[in-house]
């Protein structure tokens, strides 16, 4: 078996006296869709922000492909191969869909000020490659027809897809999605599920943070459950679903 892609060891994050995360550990294997679920306030987004460099954890360690992530700036984390989307969509609203994805290529391209001014053959080739990759990614997520529409004019579902395309443009090894189905109607949700399965079949590893238990259970290979900042279960969806701790976290404890 291949070594795990991401290893999180005893990650804790305290905000003042509040322990948003305590001693959370899990591993993500290459090629799987890993789900992270938990009730509101369980620490899912905190964990997410720790992984992607937005927060510095109080203690713990995270390795991506054997390289430590902690202490890195978000843009360095992207370079190592961990891309993300946002729970509340954060597109570049007044850029076109195509430009949004082209920005995603930033980390993998080099042209600087002088390249921009003189626009030599190297820069021209790089620009052509950026545009071509961006078109291909828009096509992959199914919004190629809206390439030249401003991001803010896209429908809600398409904006979610555009965020995924933009994250894919960074050539991630692990794509982390923060509640991608939030606010979607059932048909948009089904479309999203198909898209994520397609990405997995292309060999991408996905980390999915989700509220919607049904979606996670149907899609994920393995699932971890957070409650009050602690991991209370990890395993295949069928086992996790039957775990008494998980049931208690979601439905409340037995009446005494």
């Amino acid at each position: 078996m291949k070594p795990p892609l991401l290893v999180a060891k005893n990650v804790s994050k305290h905000f003042g006296g509040l322990a948003a995360l305590s001693e959370a550990s899990f591993t993500i294997n290459p090629g799987e869709i890993f789900g992270l679920i938990g009730p509101n306030g369980a620490g899912k987004t905190t964990l997410f922000n720790v992984l992607t460099g937005l927060y510095t954890p109080t203690s713990g360690n995270v390795l991506l492909n054997g390289q430590p992530l902690l202490g890195l700036k978000p843009h360095d984390v992207v370079r190592l191969g961990l891309a993300r989307t946002f729970q509340n969509i954060r597109l570049f609203a007044n850029m076109t869909a195509l430009e949004n994805v082209m920005v995603g290529r930033h980390a993998r391209t080099r042209a600087g000020i002088l390249g921009a001014i003189f626009r030599g053959s190297g820069t021209r080739a790089e620009e052509a490659d950026i545009a071509q990759r961006a078109h291909a990614l828009l096509d992959l997520v199914g919004i190629a027809g809206h390439a030249h529409a401003f991001a803010q004019h896209l429908s809600y579902g398409d904006q979610r897809r555009l965020e995924i395309a933009r994250a894919l443009a960074t050539d991630p090894k692990l794509l982390a999605l923060d509640e991608p189905a939030a606010g979607m109607n059932p048909s948009e949700r089904a479309g999203l599920q198909q898209l994520l399965e397609k990405l997995r079949d292309m060999g991408l590893t996905l980390l999915l943070i989700e509220h919607d238990v049904k979606l996670v259970m149907g899609l994920c290979n393995r699932v971890a459950v957070l409650d009050y900042g602690k991991k209370i279960a990890e395993g295949v969806p069928d086992d996790v679903k039957r775990d008494p701790l998980v049931i208690e976290a979601y439905l409340g404890g037995p009446l005494s």
Partner: protein, 371 residues
Amino acid sequence: MNVLNLKHDRRSAWIAFAVLGIMLAALPFLVDAGLGQSWVRILDFTLLYVMLALGLNIVVGYAGLLDLGYIAFYAVGAYLYALLASPHFGLHLPFWALLPLGALVAGLFGVMLGAPTLRLRGDYLAIVTLGFGEIIRIFLTNLNAPINITNGPQGVNMIDPISIGSFSFNQTHRVLDISIPGVYNYYYLFLALAILIIFISLRLQDSRIGRAWVAIREDEVAAEAMGINTRNVKLLAFAMGASFGGISGGLFAGFQGFISPESFNLMESVMILCMIVLGGMGNIPGVILGAVLLTVFPEALRYIGEFEQYALGRIVVDPADLRMLIFGIALIAIMIYRPAGLVPSKRRRSELVSGPDVLAQEQASFYDTHK
């Protein structure tokens, strides 16, 4: 068919460029014949402001960093030129060396301003940059003691006029029996450099760095999450914008022959910001138009006294007051009727004006559940 069309478009573009070129070349002669040589001088200043506005446009229009102290970089460029090419220190460095040096030093000052303000946005950044602009001006005013560096409030005079080799821009030259006075020479020099700066702005706009600037303006957190090193890219914007200011500052010093700290006050920073806001932030033709209008219009309003005398028979309102009143009302009117500027970029229009097509599209996507 397509190829033919393209050729045709190319040719008409070339013709348009040629006509524009001839018009720009003939402009000082026409203006001189029609309005007098003082207006050719105003033309020269217009070009300096075009360069300044394009520089500030990189910082404010592209990267969205509100800078209220931009004139400081103009001052840095001007003083660098003045101190290194005047009897003040007895140094007379050549123009071709001073211009790039001015750009470089102003760029460094841009980074100096940028570095401590990286975490600030919007109003907070505006306040700090405003302070920075004032600090530079006050330094220039007071650096005449204990060692006299800037000659204090008296400023520096007898600055070397700009010359390249033995060609002095200050003197009248004769070409093909047409006499070309100094102000004309400066016009052509400034025009050439303004075109260079327009070219650089256009190239930057449509590049990897240009996209990164706009991305930061749109959403800094998302830009960082896309692998953009926001710190470096912001500093780059400050440095680029400042270097344009440094170039125009050097040109100003050589052209004017005299500079003092009073030329670099807050009002100047505000005027340059007005130019880009009024013309259309982030859009190069808009910024140029804004710079031209805001330089020429206040000058034209100087004739308001004569007009008042002619229309009413006597002076009712002090012309100087009336001039500022009309200027203020015009600015307000433009911002009410064209909030995104006179020639807005597509981006700004999309941000500030939701047209009927946008509304229709929003409604369509709202009801569209059969995707």
